[in-house]
Structure formats: structure tokens, C-alpha cells
Amino acid sequence: MTDTVLSVRNLTTSFRSAAGPLTAVNDVSFDVRQGEVMGLVGESGSGKSVTLRSIMRLLPRGAQIGGTVTWAGQDLLKLSDAGIRAVRGGQISMIFQEPMTALNPVLPIRIQITENLRAHTDLDANGRAARARELLDIVGIPDAARRLDEFPHQFSGGMRQRAMIAIALASNPRLLLADEPTTALDVTIQDQILNLILDLRDEFGMSVVFVTHDLGVVAATCDRMAVMYAGRIVETGTVADVFARPNHAYTRGLLGSVPQAGAERSMLLSIEGTPPGLAAIPPGCAFNPRCTFAGDTCRTTRPELTSLGPDRSVACHHNDAVVQAGSPVA
């Protein structure tokens, strides 16, 4: 595919711990294409945020990142410090998951926006000020001129989220890594922000990796999706395909717990139990203790991610049985 902008291959990230390395992201591979919104879904702790941070090399010291992340012909994981700095915030931007802590409490919003422009554009001080006002307008923060001189604690949660998006979009990035940009926002604001991201995608051909555990949001915004469980990708495909014919029991479970318009939420299908901790990932398929399709092989042999066709892959020993069972949302 020639229009692939980001290519992640065998990304593996582990953290040091007293009991040995803990692998939070394991052998993850995916592509992001020009102008596409790629959804990354999974329960809490499945490694979505660590995946995004590994791409940007934004992990605390002591984290080991392996694999390759190809962007504009370069491996971001091997780039010099100066090289990765030019990419960060300029070519690839990231919206952090937690708007309450991601903004610096002692700096006015103006500085937090313009420092990005200063690092990545040729704008002079006036140009930067004008662009900062324009950005607040774009993300729907009213009274921009006054708001720019305010501090994060004067902003509500939704406004901080928007300010963070404004910062991320400041230098017209070609790829946006959006880590749950709408969690903890009420539904109307959530819709506005999703539409804003889609508008920018349409207008500038920006690509987006969209992390969420809300499959309703995936259906509304994403083109393709990858499902993560315990640090690994277990299923990929176009959103339409995955929703119509889930091949992995975990994906099917996730879809089963999406509340549907006009229908009772199907409690039968919601997934029992909780995901395993990094130190106690079960042998075989990591999902087997919670899986209603599990057989003996699942408890001993880990299923490899296998291609089912272009853009479609799954890591499940019994995907035929899962497909047979049908989609809870079809």
C-alpha cells in the first residue's frame, strides 16, 4: 500500500519491575493510512496508551521499546533525539488521555500553545498569537482572546480537553494519536469533539489513531480497527467487517456489551471476569479463562495473528465457531 503513513512492526514494550520485565505491549503490528481513522480498542490495561507512547518514545526511563515504527522512511525508534523532537508535535501529535494532568498548572494556555508553534513553525510572535486565537476558535472555546491568558485550573474538564486538542493541532500534524480524547466528557461535547477531529481529517488529510474502549465511538468515527487484549492485537479489520463478523471471542464479547439503540443491552454476552495483570498473563490464549469458546489448545498454545484476507486478521483457535455464533450487533 503506497498511502501508508505509519507502519508499526513487532512493537514490544516492557517495564522493569522487581519481579523481572513486564511486557505491556507485545509484538504489535499495524499500519495507518493517509486520511484514515484507525481505532485501537480494548479494556483498561490492554496496552493502548503504552502503544501510542512507544510510537512517540514518550515512556519513562527504564522502559524497553523493541520493533520498528516507520514514519516518512525513518524508524522513529532509531531516530536521534533531535530527529524525534522534530517529529513530535510537528508531524505527529498526541492528545493525552488525562486532560486534568496533561496541562502545566502554572503556565497560561497561551504559552502552552505558542511554544509548540515556536518549535515547529516559522511564525513570528504576532503570527503565533493569531494562530493561538484561531486554534481556540477551531476547537470551540469561546472568548478566545481572554481565555488564552487563563490558566488550566480556570478551565472545566471539557475545556481542558479542547485546549489540549488545540495544542496538538497547532502545527498541522499529519498524524494525530488521540488517546481517549472524549472519555469523561458529556455526550454533546463528545460529539462536537469527534466531529471536529473528523472535519480536520477531511480538511487536511490528517490521519488519526483513535484509542477508546467505547465501541459506539469506534462505529461512529473509525474506518478500520484493531482490538487489543493483554498487550497483543487479537483482531483487525474494517469497522464494518469486524462489527458484522467478529472472529475473536473477545471482540464478540466487547460488541455484546455495547448498548444498542432501541434494544435491551444483552447481558448474556458481556464478558465475565477481568483482564489479567501483566505479571500473570495465562499461558496459551491470554483470554482463555474468560472465554466461552475455549478448548484445550487454547490453554496451552497461543494463537498466532493470522491473515484472513486483505485488512483482516485474527488470533483465535476457534474463530470459525465464533463466526458461527454470529455478531451481537449485526
Binding site: 523532537r85 522534530a86 517529529v87 513530535r88 501529535s93 496533561a102 502554572v106 518549535a119
Partner: protein, 312 residues
């Protein structure tokens, strides 16, 4: 709340503080053993003389009236006369306090100059050799008594190497600075150890903060992130410690002035207590207490400037 309103409010808070200081100083001096009249007249005074002096000093009045007279004279700038030195207390304060202030300010600056860069190095090299060496060295500095440290510095850099004078205050501002260098270094060491430890911990905390990761995600240069995002946030808690340490610094100045034979307020205070020079003790206590409250005020202003959440 705008910064100006914060300032106004903080200044208003100074009034009850000052009243409290006046009460404490007034009571404290009356709790000292002995009394001013026998200090003036000696132990074998005649009853008539005692009565006369008591009347002169207003000591025959009810305590409330005495306090009122005390407050009135303080506000008219009259702190009485020294019994021993026969000079107005205000004159003595004007002579001696600037020396102590200069000593304290120099010590504070030296402490900052040592603590801030080393705290950065230690925090950035966390758990490595540089961190361990810096922390070890400061631990030694922190555990040594001020007077002992002063004597060591005096012996090595004063008496042995003769780089610095062994005592006195000199003539002219630059000479003062030269004479005060070793004493302020002595005073600074334990403060800088406290500041370094606190700032190192604060920097480590801030380095792990999400907004620092977000600053990296913007592609900012590391030096800009350290100065703009890390230092300022880390200083917020350290400034509080710094302000609180000024009181300790002033009491440390008393010892240091004795070791280095500096004619400052600390020396005067000690001499006056031994000489039962009540007006001087009272006046100096008052002056030092006001000085400390003003330092706290400045600390609060600095904090409000660093951290917009405090005032705005």
C-alpha cells in the same frame, strides 16, 4: 482573585501578626529573670531610688497601661535607651541589624546557588553515582553543627590559607562582602542541604508528571522543558521551605556572628541578654520578629507569582 487583591489581603493579615508580636515581646521581656530597675541600680539600691526609677519607666502603672505605653512608644519610633551602652535602641538596631540582614541574604543566596544546580544534577542522574555523591556530601554538611563547621572553615581558609579574614566586618560594602563570605558559607551549608533535598524530590516528582510528558510530546528542547516546565513547578514547594528556613537562618546568624566576631544583631542580642539590657532585648526581638514576618510575606508573594492557583 487577582494578584493585587491577594497582596492587599496578605498585607491586611500582617496587622494581627504585628499585634501578636507586640504582645509576645512585651510579655517575654517581663518573664526574663530579674527586672530592669535592679539592672539599672544594681542589687543594693535604696527603696526611694527604686520607686523613682519604677515611676520613670512606668513600671508602677497597671499592666494594661504599661502595654499601651509600650505600643505608643513603638509606633512613635521610640524603643527606649540601652542601659549598658547608653544609646537609643533604635540607633543600635540601625547599626547592627543591616549587618545581620546582609549576612542572612548572602547565606540565602549562596545556599540557592549551591542547591539549585546540584538538585537538578542529582534529580536527572537519579540513583546514579553523581546523585549519590551529592546527597552524601550534603548529608555530611547537614549533620555538622554550625559553630563546628565555622571553626573548620576559619582554620583552613582563614588561618591556614589566609584567603579570607578570620573575623570582623571590614570597612565599605565590598570589604563587608569579603569579610562575610566565610560566615555566610557556614550558615548556607545546612540550608542548602535542606533546599537541595527538597528540590531534588520535587524535581523528580515533576519529571514524572503528565504535563512534562506532554511538553516532550510537543517536541520542545529538553533545556526549555527543564527551565519552563520543571523548575518552576518544583520551586513552588521549595520556596515555602526556603521562607520557613529564614527564621532558622537568623538564629544561626547569632552563633555565626559569635564565632566570626562580627558586630551584628545576633552578637548584640547575646550581649544584651547577659547584661540584662532589657530595652535592647525588647527592641531587637521586635525588629527580628518583624523581619521574619516580612520574609514570610515576601515568600508568599513569590509563591503566588510562581503558582497562579494560589492567588488567581
Amino acid at each position: 482573585m487577582p494578584l493585587s487583591e491577594f497582596l492587599a489581603r496578605r498585607l491586611l493579615q500582617l496587622i494581627p501578626t504585628l499585634i501578636f508580636i507586640l504582645i509576645v515581646v512585651f510579655v517575654l521581656v517581663r518573664l526574663l529573670p530579674g527586672d530592669p530597675t535592679s539592672a539599672i541600680l544594681g542589687d543594693r539600691a535604696l527603696d526611694a531610688d527604686v520607686e523613682r526609677i519604677n515611676r520613670q519607666l512606668g513600671l508602677d502603672q497597671p499592666i494594661i497601661v504599661q502595654f499601651w505605653l509600650f505600643v505608643k512608644s513603638v509606633f512613635s519610633g521610640d524603643l527606649g535607651n540601652s542601659i549598658v551602652l547608653k544609646l537609643p535602641v533604635t540607633t543600635l538596631i540601625a547599626q547592627r541589624l543591616p549587618t545581620t540582614i546582609l549576612l542572612t541574604v548572602m547565606a540565602a543566596l549562596i545556599a540557592l546557588i549551591m542547591a539549585v544546580p546540584l538538585a537538578f544534577v542529582a534529580a536527572l542522574q537519579r540513583e546514579k553515582l553523581a546523585d549519590a555523591s551529592i546527597r552524601g556530601a550534603f548529608q555530611v554538611g547537614l549533620s555538622m553543627p554550625v559553630f563546628y563547621l565555622g571553626l573548620i572553615l576559619l582554620t583552613v581558609f582563614g588561618a591556614r590559607l589566609q584567603w579570607f579574614p578570620v573575623g570582623g566586618y571590614g570597612d565599605g560594602f565590598l570589604d563587608h562582602l569579603y569579610h562575610l563570605f566565610l560566615p555566610s558559607l557556614t550558615l548556607a551549608l545546612s540550608l542548602s542541604a535542606i533546599l537541595m533535598r527538597n528540590l531534588r524530590a520535587a524535581i523528580i516528582g515533576v519529571l514524572d508528571a503528565e504535563y512534562v510528558s506532554f511538553a516532550h510530546a510537543k517536541g520542545l528542547a529538553p533545556r526549555l522543558i527543564l527551565t519552563r516546565h520543571v523548575l518552576r513547578n518544583a520551586l513552588i514547594s521549595t520556596v515555602t521551605i526556603f521562607g520557613l528556613s529564614i527564621g532558622t537562618l537568623l538564629s544561626g546568624a547569632v552563633i555565626t556572628e559569635t564565632v566570626f566576631a562580627i558586630p551584628g544583631a545576633g552578637r548584640l542580642m547575646v550581649d544584651s541578654i547577659y547584661g540584662r539590657d532589657y530595652p535592647v532585648v525588647q527592641g531587637m526581638t521586635l525588629a527580628l520578629a518583624v523581619l521574619v514576618s516580612v520574609t514570610f510575606l515576601l515568600t508568599d508573594i513569590l509563591q503566588a507569582w510562581l503558582d497562579p492557583r494560589v492567588a488567581r
